[in-house]
């Protein structure tokens, strides 16, 4: 009798333990409902009580006073006491100072000498500004070409950049999207904004402007331009903002395509651990395994490359002060990312940046940060997105019905696999692995990104396409 009681007690305790564990598990992994979110917060200066939005759309042209270029040239002409790299070291300890001096020299002697050409090139895509929620937003707006409009289905597309990128990343990509071609039945009216706090867009003047607010401003921008339903494409922060847009405003998003499909949820983490032991069970091909695994190696790689993230997420104004006080400081900090993102094969190569992106493109991008003086406000975005308030939204755990497409380029940050992505995007329509390319896909291989994006759009069968 006593034995039975004790046995029963043990079973009860064990059962309670298991039950409790199950409750904990579901608590952590179940999808969450869409949070309430104010889609009209005022972000301008002052309290905005009497704020009436100026809804005009103004043309924008980059016109840098020649004194500013001259001043930059002078700053680049200083003799800097850069420290020699350690013996036998290329870029393992950060951006190589010999390379940095060469870049500074090129920037001063070659690039700035033809600045008028570069400025003309940067103005070659039509640009505008308009005020959204108190912030002046700069954006490229390129309609599909007339010939394309005649023959193709035309849709609006919101293109979102990240850090340390800018709209410059899309200068080869946008023309492909708008032209009359034989690859796809679709052409796009492209809107490519500078993110708030980046490039020629205003920055928020009080804390709290995180990736959910960013998604809201971008969605409101599209509404301002008359686009109620549109596609979204992005990498880096652009991907995260796009994901938030698809989550908070699914009614506005026809399809969401990302070239950095990351997903950080407890369930994704657990699935990742399981998949690291049984990758063949989870991935459709063994060629995809080293995109995700070994996990430990990927984490180590991230740890090695995320010092900038850590400092920007905690002390953005400190590092911002350094980056805004010296063009060479800005150069070394940003160029390091282009160098590393050239991939492990080229990361120590002195010709990597020229080979993978081209010097002009990288310097154009650098000039945007320099001329807009946005290094500090761009860094602050990191701090806003690690804040308690933003993490409390747990947007990665909120499902979105929006059709999704994921392109994974070989040398980019490790992305989520389909089994993880479907937790958030059950309507995952397109998933691709590339054995080449990296983080700045639109810059490195715009035609591949274009093919992948248009393939995704076709798969939505918006016009009765069959496969």
């Amino acid at each position: 009798m006593k034995c039975l009681l004790v046995f029963g007690l043990i079973v009860a305790v064990f059962g309670a333990f298991v039950g409790y564990g199950y409750l904990l598990f579901t608590d952590f992994t179940r999808p969450l409902p869409k949070p309430e979110f104010n889609d009209n917060t005022y972000w301008g200066t002052g309290d905005g009580d009497n704020y009436i939005a100026d809804e005009e759309i103004y043309e924008f042209k980059l016109q840098v006073p020649s004194e500013d270029i001259e001043d930059l040239r002078k700053q680049l002409n200083r003799t800097l006491r850069l420290t020699e790299p350690l013996d036998g070291i290329a870029f393992e300890y950060g951006f190589n100072t010999y390379a940095l001096q060469q870049f500074a020299d090129y920037w001063r002697d070659k690039y700035l000498t033809v600045w008028d050409e570069r400025e003309e090139y940067l103005n070659s895509l039509k640009q505008f500004t308009t005020e959204i929620q108190g912030l002046n937003i700069h954006f490229i707006h390129e309609h599909a070409k007339e010939e394309a409009k005649a023959r193709k289905h035309v849709y609006p597309l919101l293109l979102l950049h990240g850090w340390p990128g800018s709209v410059r990343e899309f200068y080869d990509f946008i023309p492909m999207l708008g032209k009359d071609q034989n690859v796809s039945d679709y052409a796009f009216d492209v809107v490519a904004p500078s993110l708030v706090g980046f490039g020629f867009s205003d920055a928020a003047t009080r804390p709290g402007f995180n990736a959910a607010e960013m998604a809201t401003v971008m969605r409101n921008l599209m509404l301002r331009l008359g686009y109620k339903e549109f596609f979204v494409q992005g990498g880096d922060w652009g991907s995260i903002i796009g994901s938030n847009l698809a989550t908070l405003y699914p009614e506005n998003v026809l399809g969401y395509h990302s070239n950095m499909c990351v997903l950080h949820t407890p369930l994704a983490f657990l699935k990742g651990i399981y998949a690291s032991y049984f990758p063949e069970k989870v991935l459709p091909s063994r060629f995809f395994i080293d995109h995700h695994f070994p996990l430990w190696e990927k984490y180590e790689g991230l740890l090695k490359e995320s010092g900038y993230f850590h400092i920007q997420a905690t002390k953005p104004d400190t590092i911002g002060a350094a980056l805004t006080s010296s063009p060479v400081a800005l150069a070394t900090y940003i160029l390091e990312k282009f160098q590393t993102c050239a991939g492990p094969g080229l990361a120590q190569d002195f010709g990597a940046i020229t080979t993978v992106y081209g010097l002009e493109a990288v310097l154009d991008n650098l000039m945007i940060y320099y001329l807009s003086n946005s290094a500090t406000t761009a860094a602050r975005f990191y701090a806003e997105n690690v804040s308690k308030e933003y993490r409390a939204l747990q947007l990665d755990r909120v499902q979105s019905p929006v059709p999704m497409g994921c392109a994974r380029f070989r040398n980019d940050l490790p992305a989520a696999f389909d089994w993880q992505l479907r937790d958030k995007f059950p309507n995952l329509k397109h998933s691709m692995y590339f054995q080449q390319g990296g983080h700045f896909a639109a810059m490195e291989m715009p035609s591949m990104l274009y093919n992948d994006f248009t393939t995704f759009v076709r798969k939505l069968a918006l016009h009765g396409e069959t496969f």
């Binding site: 300890y93 003047t205 804390p207 997420a313 002390k315 002060a321 350094a322 900090y333 390091e336 500090t376």
Partner: protein, 463 residues
């Protein structure tokens, strides 16, 4: 939301409990003293081939005078219009160095400090500076002899700074050590070097100069100067270099005193986790509030260690960003003198900078980095010390035989309790707690540090 938080805590506790049982199994292995690694005491760190190197053993007086051209260029840079971003509304130092305060610092630096630079330079020369070549590197040090020794016992003292400090931290501390007074039976002959790659000490040309290897250089420096046995005092990297020295060369170290005692051996980490679960067993109630649990510590590390993360991985990038960039250098370095003196200063628009320091003090320290252009090499100490091979040496598990003393100043970044220090400091004879002071006590509260240090020396009864 609260539910998720508390369940997270519950899971962490469960996880920690599992760790505990696993750890207990290996307790015996982990608590045993580690093997003293054999380091090359003649490793060559200079440029070029070691085979072609002939060490110049001369100890030469060193002139720290600054080339006037550097001062002129500096003034020019500081005169440029500042392009700093206005701080966010209502923010003090929570996002880093507040640009309003940075403007004040820059203005003072340019209009006041640099106009009296020759005064400041004279002040920096108030101690005797020397240089000698150790293992290929020209090592700079201050050598301060006791002013009078009658009736006092003399002990040699190796005094080491850290990052982003310099020997300047010790300018009010050294006179207390070298001047006989009725508070102590001892006076000290002080050797205060610039760490390799800092200030007027040459930086390494070779990879691999981590904390342990720096301690070899320091030990060789003391031998060069004729000191076989000495006391060590240090904070920040100075504390780590000192404890490495004491672990590796017990025959040279009489006593070790630190204001940032730490224990990075596996045993130390286990003790930390245990202390988080059973704080009352590990800490006395009076000073329990000094010691953060593992969770709080981790949160604090995340908040304050961005600089360490980037310096440990990309020192050449962030170093280059600060070369000949005085405004950037000021923000990057002086930020630490705010937050590490008192974390509450983060809420202040001026970072509380002048509550404990003068602008002159802070700028003296920055000037040493600036005129010697040592910012990049100073950062490399992080990448050379925070890597697998350095951590693999596991020097912290080699017990320090010398008598040890640990002073805890409340606002220091983190404190390690006596129980957590036990396997590294078996001879810990002095533990004190001060409800004031932060990471730079020699700079901030030299009298208090001096009183604590001499109390420790008295207890140690060395002579």
């Amino acid at each position: 939301m609260a539910g998720v938080g508390s369940t997270l805590v519950r899971i962490s506790v469960a996880g920690i409990a599992i760790l505990f049982f696993v750890g207990y199994k290996n307790y015996r292995d982990l608590s045993a003293p580690g093997k003293r690694p054999d380091l090359d005491t003649e490793a060559y760190w200079g440029p070029g081939d070691k085979a072609l190197y002939k060490e110049n053993k001369a100890i030469l007086p060193f002139d720290i005078s600054v080339d006037p051209a550097i001062i002129t260029d500096l003034k020019g840079q500081l005169s440029r219009p500042l392009k700093l971003q206005e701080p966010l509304e209502g923010v003090g130092f929570q996002y880093g160095f507040n640009s309003k305060e940075l403007r004040n610092v820059v203005k003072y630096w340019r209009d006041t400090y640099l106009n009296k630079w020759s005064e400041r330079e004279e002040y920096l020369k108030k101690f005797e500076h020397f240089q000698t070549e150790i293992q290929g590197l020209k090592m700079h040090f201050i050598h301060a002899k006791p002013t009078k020794t009658t009736g006092k016992k003399v002990l040699p003292l190796l005094l080491m700074h850290g990052w982003p400090g310099t020997v300047r931290e010790f300018y009010d501390f050294i006179p207390l050590l070298t001047t006989p007074n009725d508070k102590s039976d001892y006076v000290f002959e002080v050797i205060a070097p610039s760490l390799p790659g800092y200030g007027w000490s040459q930086g390494s040309s070779k990879t691999g100069l981590g904390v342990a290897q720096v301690s070899v250089i320091m030990r060789n420096l003391m031998l060069r100067l004729g000191f076989q046995k000495y006391v060590i005092q240090g904070g920040d990297w100075g504390s780590l270099i000192g404890s490495n020295l004491a672990s590796l060369f017990p025959e040279n170290v009489l006593a070790y005193h630190s204001n940032m005692c730490s224990n990075n051996s596996p045993m130390g980490s286990i003790q930390l986790i245990l202390a988080s679960i059973f704080p009352s067993y590990f800490l006395d109630s009076q000073h329990a509030h000094f010691y953060k649990g593992a969770g709080d510590l981790f949160a604090h590390i995340l908040e304050e260690m961005g600089y360490a993360h980037i310096q440990a991985t990309k020192p050449d990038t962030v170093g280059s960003a600060l070369v000949d960039n005085p405004v950037g250098l000021a923000a990057y370095i002086i930020e630490k003198f705010s937050t590490w003196t008192n974390p509450a200063f983060r809420n202040l628009e001026d970072g509380g900078l002048t509550k404990r320091f003068t602008y002159d003090q802070l700028l003296d320290n920055i000037m040493i980095y600036y005129v010697t252009n040592s910012i990049t090499t100073s950062m490399r100490l992080y990448s050379e010390s925070m890597n697998k091979s350095q951590l693999g040496l596991n020097v912290d598990s080699v017990p320090i035989q010398a008598k040890a003393g640990c002073a805890h100043f409340l606002h220091e970044l983190a404190h390690t309790s006596d129980k957590q220090l036990a396997n590294k400091f078996p001879n810990l004879i002095h533990t004190t707690h001060y409800t004031d002071g932060g990471h730079f006590p020699a700079f901030e509260l030299p009298e208090t540090l001096y009183a604590d240090f001499t109390a420790f020396i008295k207890k140690a009864a060395l002579v």
